[in-house]
Amino acid sequence: MDMIKNSVVILLLLGGLFFFLVGTIGLYRLPDVFTRLHATTKSDTLGAGLIILSVMIYMGFDIIVLKLFLVLMFIWITNPTAAHIISKAVYHNDVINKEESNDV
């Protein structure tokens, strides 16, 4: 029983690490501010989610699970808000050239 639980925990941890890795690689490879924001913010949501989920399973029934859930909720609220503010600031300040913009 312990072995099944541990292997699930390890799998979820590896999944979370994988998505964080993808975010970092994306930050390095993608060309401009907006596309880089895509990579970093998105992988954080799933990466942090999987890692916190694995910690939850590891702890079992405990008050800490509820606290971890709250931490996850705060990450999922603040993360897109911060991404939105950064992109809005860049968009309205014309820091990049908007040649690629086709509709707006």
Partner: protein
């Protein structure tokens, strides 16, 4: 006044969760801190038109929205991982206007954050009846129209009309 009491109960529940003891000392400290926080943030509390979420039906719709959102996050994250790890990196970045039906500011905020959370799309600006969105690929852009997420978000507002 009513909204202050609801928010106070919520904050006090959060305090009890964090301390997780039942002695008199921490109880009274919590009470004082909650009153102080309510007074300090009196301008920031939700106003009357935004308290839908406290009602039972509004809360059920919100939970449904989050379940759809969770599914979208997992599916789309895998797509973005494929794009980033692809040696040729097939991206077609573009800005576009996305018309929305939501009128209430709180619902607009929830939906805008939901769009940012789903990989491939990023909400840049919120206007009266449209969002300005940056899409990483064309498929992410087209996937936004008539999606499950859009339907779930519209139901956030529809249920009481």
């Amino acid at each position: 006044m009513k909204k202050n009491i609801w928010m106070g109960i919520l904050l006090f529940g959060f305090w009890m969760l964090l301390t997780f003891t039942l002695d008199v000392f921490s109880f009274f400290i919590g009470l004082i801190v909650v009153c102080f926080v309510l007074w300090f943030n009196r301008d920031l509390l939700l106003n009357e038109s935004e308290t839908d979420l406290y009602s039972y039906k509004g809360f059920v719709q919100l939970v449904k929205f989050f379940i759809v959102l969770l599914k979208e996050i997992v599916v789309a994250n895998i797509q973005v991982a494929k794009i980033v790890l692809d040696p040729k990196m097939p991206i077609q970045p573009s800005f576009f206007k996305y018309p929305i039906k939501l009128r209430k500011p709180l619902n607009q905020v929830i939906y805008a954050n939901g769009i940012t959370l789903t990989p491939g799309t990023l909400t840049i600006d919120v206007q009266d009846d449209y969002f300005i969105i940056h899409a990483l690929t064309d498929s992410a852009k087209n996937g936004l129209f008539n999606s499950d997420l859009e339907n779930a978000a519209n139901q956030l507002e529809d249920y009481h009309e």
